[in-house]
Assembly symmetry: C2
Homo-oligomer: 405 residues x 2
């Protein structure tokens, strides 16, 4: 059968492409430390279990396409507490994970052939979704040497064409851990304003910041720079997967001050009827009653981050900047081909029957050749496990050097 071009072009997940080798290694009895995926190994807020364990709704009925009112109200309260007191439930829609919010927002702004700018390395599924929606994702390079902070306005503007419909940012950033500062965000917003395009801001990792770095929402910048507009240009993409360790639940939302955008989102929402009612209700409980969970989790990640940094510093030839937020880091390894190395870790290497799984970073770049010697590491595992994982990485690099040089 001849399949569509978009089907043929669908990229494979760089986070999951080594999965089959991992499974084979596990079958051989090798323990794997998963550094490749942002799956925290801690449980969700306890109220989640209380909710499920008491669940007795007579029907498991369709939710409203917009979301359960209680969920939307909880989002409003959460956003009010963040300082966005002008928002009401009309500014939110429930989504099946942050993923659905990405798909809908890019489809809201761009038609086939249109372009969306983003900064590479980027969250790889931006590219997947643009491929599905036949949108050209145009990458603007950021560099490890400058902590993946944004290039100059001139560099960014160069990439804008008459097909550019939006700039898509992730802040705090997956995969780099970078938090954009006020100056950077203002610059990006100004570019959007000057070119009358939209700003899509993925703020899934909002609470995950370290060493006092401040996370500023695109909603705040909008309020500062276009306070009185009826025609808001910001869409927030968000999810509780990370904040509440609810990766397997699939619950997120989109948010915008622009009512026309929210109306379109509702129509997208109607096309798939609704998000899961059970999951929305369960998450509502967590937002309303266990919001303090987030602080504890971030404290834990802060420790894990330090363990990772300490471990990486011990490895000769590894280059990285200390991540400011989220729970990822991009590290440049002293290997010529990080993908080959990552695969080898699963197929041919182990130390005392243990190895690690990394995410080769080339999949987070679109520009050919970039990221070839880089990997993304998620520091979501327990501190002791991260210490051991860094030890394995160190040993493995030494071994790799003896084999390949």
């Amino acid at each position: 059968m001849k399949l569509s071009k978009r089907a043929e072009n669908m990229p494979e997940s760089p986070i999951r492409k080594l999965a089959e080798y991992g499974i084979k290694a596990q079958k051989k009895g090798i323990k794997i430390y998963h550094l490749n995926i942002g799956q925290p190994d801690l449980g969700p807020p306890p109220i989640v279990y209380d909710y499920l364990n008491k669940y007795d709704d007579k029907c498991i009925a369709y939710s409203h396409s917009k979301g359960e009112q209680e969920y939307l109200d909880a989002l409003v309260k959460y956003y009010h507490d963040l300082g966005h007191t002008d928002l009401s439930s009309n500014n939110f829609i429930a989504t099946l994970g942050g993923s659905e919010a990405i798909l809908w927002s890019i489809m809201t702004v761009a038609d086939p052939g249109d372009e969306i700018l983003t900064f590479e390395p980027f969250y790889t599924n931006y590219h997947s979704y643009c491929t599905m929606a036949d949108i050209k994702l145009v990458p603007i390079e950021t560099k490890i040497e400058t902590g993946f902070h944004l290039p100059s306005k001139e560099e960014i503007i160069k990439k804008i064409s008459n097909k550019t419909k939006a700039i898509l940012i992730c802040n705090p950033n997956n995969p780099t851990g970078t938090i954009y500062n006020h100056k950077e965000l203002t610059m990006v917003y100004d570019i959007c304003k000057e070119n009358n395009i939209l700003l899509l801001s993925d703020e899934v990792y909002r609470e995950f910041s370290y060493d006092g770095h401040e996370v500023i929402s695109a909603l705040t910048i909008e309020k500062e720079l276009e306070p009185n507009t009826d025609d808001s240009r910001v869409i927030i993409l968000d999810s509780f997967s990370k904040r509440f360790s609810l990766c397997g639940a699939r619950i997120g939302f989109a948010c915008s001050r622009n009512q026309k955008i929210m109306d379109v989102m509702l129509r997208y929402g109607q096309s798939r009827l609704a998000a899961s009612s059970i999951i929305q209700q369960m998450t509502t409980e967590a937002i309303n009653k266990n919001i303090d969970y987030i602080k504890k989790v971030v404290d834990k990640f802060s420790e894990q981050r330090q363990a990772l940094i300490n471990g990486l510093k011990k490895i000769d030839g590894v280059i990285f900047q200390e991540p400011e937020g989220a729970f990822y880091i991009i590290a440049k390894l002293p290997v010529d081909d990080a993908e080959k190395f990552s695969k080898w870790l699963l197929t041919d290497y182990n130390d005392k029957n243990e190895t690690i799984m990394l995410a080769p970073a080339n999949g987070f770049y679109l520009t050919e050749g970039l990221g070839k010697d880089e990997v993304r590491i998620a520091y979501v595992l327990k501190k002791d496990d991260l210490v051991r994982a860094m030890e394995i990485l160190n040993l493995a690099i030494s071994k790799w050097k003896t084999i390949n040089h």
Copy 2:
């Protein structure tokens, strides 16, 4: 902000477009019988509650992008029991409701500007998803007088162009309740074969058949007509929303014998990481342990169907054919504008403080003017409620006639 053309073109759900009037009516204290939406008012298989009430997984972790192995294994068993014994777990992928299976399958076969044929009236979200994916949905009319059975091969072939990539059928049909017979399905398959295009078959209502009508899967027809192909042209779209009354859970799957198609589906799956692990596990329990639930439900629907038919027969001027399957019927009402009438039922009519909500059928057609005097009725309510709802419909039509003539 200038939004995309696809955003501007997104249709509003005809099933949900009257929702706001319904809410207003309820606020006035009027009870509404919801005939507009296929939301059974009975609970899911009991094991679902056992599962949730005992849930204590330490993490709520990402599932595999393909689905939980246990869920896929349960699907294999379910399909083996249906007679498709050649299928293995490689032929399935978990989706977030049947909706995601629709989106992925149309994107797998068609690029922007390509065409997919379907029979109108059709499940309205086919059009929504084609709009999102910039695919042209080409409708072929079926008629109430012939029970919405398929037109001749000549009529269908006329609509095929060099842009046609697939025929999309829903069997048993939502919104018409029609079950296609062996001859019709063979004809459709032959057309696909002769034009080397794909057959997308939405079989969500598989078990819902009445009066001995047999439901034949496109997989069966494929096995008969192209038994030895390595290049299968059938994709099945499926869901447990109706079969297990799990509308609010959002759990479905896609199935194909074509491994290349399943590989593409996996990449789509990776783009949104995974379906909900909790919901997959819960549904697995129901498939493995409460499969007999389906028979009970279908018996109940069979009674409700009879109540609806009896009620409709009592109303002067209503035209319909007895539905063969699913739990919907399209009825032609003696009103000039069914949408206006349906809205009036909510805004200006009640009998003893009770009214009904219908789905105007024009939204299930693409061809302008078709379905204007038709409504879709879902017979998902308790028998007594349906009897009362038909009484209200009868009274309301009489009243409407006195006002509008």
